[in-house]
Amino acid sequence: MNRWRYTSPLLLDNESTLTCEKNVRLYDGDQKTSFEGGELIITTHRILWGRPGAISKGQTCLALNLSLIVYIEEESPSAFSFSRSRKVLLHLSEPTDLEDGPQPSSIYNFIKLSFREGFGSDVVGILNDSIQKKAWEGRTVPKSVPQIKLRTGIVGIERSLQEKQKATDESISVAFQDLNKLMGMAKEMVSLSKMISTKIKDKQGDITEDETVRFKSYLLSLGIDDPVTRNAFKSDNQYYRSLAKEICDLLQSHIEDRGGMMALTDVFCWVNRARGLELLSPEDILSACQIMESMSLPLKLIQFSSGVMVLQLATLDDESVAEATAILLDDKGSLSSEELAQALGISVTLAKERLLTAEKHGKSCRDDSIEGLRFYPNKFLTN
């Protein structure tokens, strides 16, 4: 009740009356107050309540800013009540101003509007609507000034290019504003990203092999036009088979770039990032990866003795991993998993698995000291 303010019923700038109800009683939380049988006016900015006739005479009334309303619900009438009375619950945020109100403080975070004779119009709907519109923020739409377009000459072409760029920029920022909009624009984004990525690929000769460029091309080369979804298939088995194919198509080139291995957690992120909308559960991805080997796809699922699971190129076996790691070790003298991770651009877990694989094949040996675990070329066997 401490959110109500005494005010004059005159409408503010841009404010307009939406609906009007009679015989309304105000509750502070669950408690009845003495404000009963009054008129309630809902405007785009406020809820006004006045004694019968007070508002039309311009006398002081109570007002509640719509900006304070957090959530609106209608209280379901109890089974024993036969009256037409309907109650609307308004959940409110803390008052921000310290102006004069009928009650300085309240223990409740909500108030109730009790319509003794029900309401003629859809009060809840109107309130919700005007809260969403936020008319009180007074956003006035600037009228667009007609522009004269130069269509000819190089200037014209440049300008139209610039405008296109601007539009692209805007659509990217709009797309990321919220998920709903992203979903609406997904198709457009995918085609856009494809376009940009092909452009980047075409220009690879001109642009320096900058890492940001490469990263961008990775990001933008993702995107699946037509994701495999469960609904399209009658049996799980078929679903997993086509999912496995999709994952392989998507990740094969990336895994090749990253040294032939990708942790399953990364696979999960990449695939879902590429799909964008029809997200996959970890179980589905795991099941799909498990059948890759039997389908003789270019990738296969490997589980290390530590329990870490990775997708690995089918052509890559433990021995060649061990061999490659040993060559690196010889080059560097010694490596910790962090250093190997940095050198190959792979995750630390994967780097450790590589070193352990090399150790298992007798290609490396460990130095476990207080400085951490390091691996050295296996001089015991080579010397």
Partner: protein, 177 residues
């Protein structure tokens, strides 16, 4: 023995040497390298007794330049390996004190007996002190031998009926046959 780098094998300066390797083949090489290093070190330093609890005071098990130590449990397991070939023996049940025999007791025994034969001292009595510290043995490898180890060596000869130990409180001697 000096601790200069030239005296140590390459493994001593290889950090993984101080971590027990999990790979079986590698570990076998590592352990055998340790075994020969321990025997070499003890031989050069005439070290007959190693206490595992104080092992890190020996440069053998503690490479201070690299700051690497061999874990005591690993030391015990390597010494146990040495014990299998008769090159070491635990002195207590907790396996903390070890006698190291860079020559096995049998090798020592034949060395001492050869020496006695050379001098023609069969059928004569020598004190243990004479045998380990005497002028005649200065050039021999067993000079300065720990009395406990010497007794064990002579017990081997006794079993072969080549000598008889006379162990009384004041005088400890041995008679060769």
């Amino acid at each position: 023995m000096s601790t200069s780098t030239s005296e140590w094998p390459w493994q001593y300066h290889f950090p993984p040497f101080f971590t027990l390797q999990p790979h079986p083949e590698t570990r076998a090489k590592q352990v055998s390298a340790w075994k020969s290093l321990i025997l070499d070190y003890c031989q050069k330093n005439k070290l007959y007794i190693v206490d595992v609890r104080e092992a890190h005071q020996l440069p053998l098990f503690h490479n201070t330049t690299m700051n690497r130590k061999l874990d005591p449990s690993v030391i015990v397991s390597i010494l146990s390996e040495l014990a299998k070939t008769g090159n070491a023996a635990a002195l207590d049940k907790a396996k903390n004190r070890w006698e190291i025999y860079w020559h096995t007791l049998e090798e020592w025994a034949s060395m001492i007996y050869d020496h006695i034969c050379e001098l023609g001292m069969q059928n004569s009595v020598l004190t243990l002190f004479e045998l380990s510290q005497g002028d005649d043995v200065q050039s021999k490898e067993f000079s300065g031998m720990q009395t406990d180890v010497l007794v064990k060596v002579l017990r081997v000869l006794e079993n072969e009926r080549k000598c008889e130990l006379i162990l009384s409180d004041e005088e400890q001697g041995v008679k060769f046959f």
